[in-house]
Amino acid sequence: VHKAAQGDVGAFEKLILLYQDRVYTHCVNLAGNYDDGQDLAQEVFIRAYRGISNFRGESDFGTWLHKITVNCWINTKKNSRLQLMSIDEPRLGEEGDISREIMDDDETPIETLERKEFNEMLRRALDNLTPEYSAVLVLREMEGYSYQEIADITESSLGTVKSRINRAKRDLRQQMQGLLGSDGNGLPESK
């Protein structure tokens, strides 16, 4: 990191190789598809390169990249520069993909289909949230960060993060209610 901050381009390239999986995964989780995730990840590393001389080592370099990713995502989405792919575009199953979506042994084919449909609706609802809300939800639910860690990454107070996550989930719940019917009928049973 120090070498890269001194202008060593080769050292920065090594940092890319070291952190690309982490950043790319985060970006795909945020964007919901591989193409937009890749564009976002490129943007993150470009911005990191331009700003690395300002990196003071107060936080882990990976956390710093996460900060850039979240800011980049919010800015990009706000500027509508990232044209999100249609929900119908394939999102899963590409090479190198290790999904957490582990099929339950007891799941019937119909249940699998229902779960996939539900998750697709959820993704659509997530994409409809403001970028600030979707970013904290991805960090919390999809990447497993604690509230405090999210506060560090987003440079917000713990209270703000708590309130933002709660509101985001309630927004999501409302959207899902609209999609599934007011009684939530159609929600697959929680396992």
Partner: protein, 348 residues
């Protein structure tokens, strides 16, 4: 505190995330146990959290060529993304990076940062290549490093193309494109060491060109390979560096892009020659002065401050600033001696 359905709904996700204090948690759970509606809501909310977790990717490796694409953007200093062709569609190793859109690759001057407590030059651009690069980064007269991904040395199409040298064993002994030594260099003035000869600076800086020009040229040519070879030959003739940025196919449409760096005084002729490779779709030239005048003014202000003080320490500090800024202005002048042409070829 009394719990009703509305309050429970407001904090139900905090309950699931175990973010409620113990007392509130007990109250909410007691309410849910007795309230079928809230119990059902809790299940629905659990399902949403579970769905989000299921959608997550544990770890994904980006497509091969990802880091090359990022480095290509860094080296070209472009804000335009570079698409990566999936492995099955790649042509050869130097085509690993495919430029999806044309990039006007500007040689960057970057932001200039004075030590804290002094004036910072207004510049909306982030600190980029030149700030991070070592001081001698501009001493290389060839703007494209031979080690840069995707770099191809200039070749002369009239002598090399379609005339392979075959040895007795039937093996083509022609060097591969990437093995050919560069035959030319982009002319550029020798770097000038900063001095405190202020009048010399004033003359040098005010007389020199300080507009950095970049041209984007979009051409449709039926045979892209032929057009590419001709473009490389034209670049060599113009003593310009020629670097493919990448190639991309979309069905039967092939797009290919190149960065050509030519001496300023040879660029116009080269652009005209490149335009004859096919049908010109668009041609656009941008200029950038990087707030040169403001920076020059600041330089002269520092000079005045030096002239108006007897404080030795202050003079020393000011001279350091002066030299740093002067070096950057000189480098900018040097960059302006070159013109970047981004050539886009498309077969349809």
């Amino acid at each position: 505190m009394e719990m009703d359905c509305r309050k429970v709904n407001e904090i139900i996700f905090l309950l699931l995330d175990e973010e409620l204090d113990a007392d509130t948690c007990t109250l909410v759970r007691d309410h849910i146990t007795q309230c079928p509606a809230c119990s059902s809501e809790l299940k629905a909310c659990e399902r949403i959290s579970q769905g989000l977790q299921q959608m997550a990717k544990a770890s994904i490796t980006p497509p091969s060529g990802f880091s090359d694409a990022v480095m290509a953007r860094i080296n070209a200093n472009t804000d335009i993304k570079v698409d990566i062709i999936p492995a099955k569609r790649r042509f050869s190793s130097w085509y690993t990076i495919a430029s999806g859109v044309a990039a006007v690759a500007l040689l960057s001057f970057g932001a200039y940062l004075l030590p804290s407590g002094t004036t910072q030059i207004a510049d909306n651009e982030p600190a980029v290549v030149d700030v991070l690069a070592p001081d001698n980064a501009h001493d290389d007269p060839n703007p494209v490093s031979n080690n840069e991904p995707g770099y191809i040395e200039p070749v002369d199409i009239d002598t090399n193309v379609n005339k392979p040298n075959i040895n007795q064993n039937g093996v083509n002994t022609d060097p591969k494109l990437h093995e050919i030594e560069p035959v030319t260099e982009v002319t550029a003035p020798n770097p000038v060491e900063p001095t405190t000869d202020f009048d010399a600076y004033r003359a040098l800086l005010t007389d020199a060109r300080h507009q950095l020009l970049s041209t984007m040229l979009h051409i449709t040519a039926a045979d892209i390979d032929e057009a590419e070879n001709k473009a490389a030959g034209l670049a060599v003739n113009a003593q310009a560096a020629f670097q493919p940025l990448g190639r991309q196919t979309d069905g039967d449409i092939i797009k290919s892009s190149y960065k050509i760096t030519a001496a300023y005084d040879k660029a116009d002729l080269l652009i005209a020659q490149l335009s004859a490779l096919g049908t010109v779709g668009s041609i656009q030239t941008e200029s950038r002065d990087n707030d040169y005048d403001d920076k020059l003014q600041l330089l002269l202000n520092i000079q005045n401050q030096i002239n108006n003080t007897d404080d030795v320490d202050k003079i020393k500090a000011l001279e350091e600033q002066f030299n740093q800024l002067a070096r950057q202005l000189q480098n900018w002048n040097k960059d302006c001696e070159k013109q970047t042409i981004v050539l886009w070829l498309q077969n349809k």
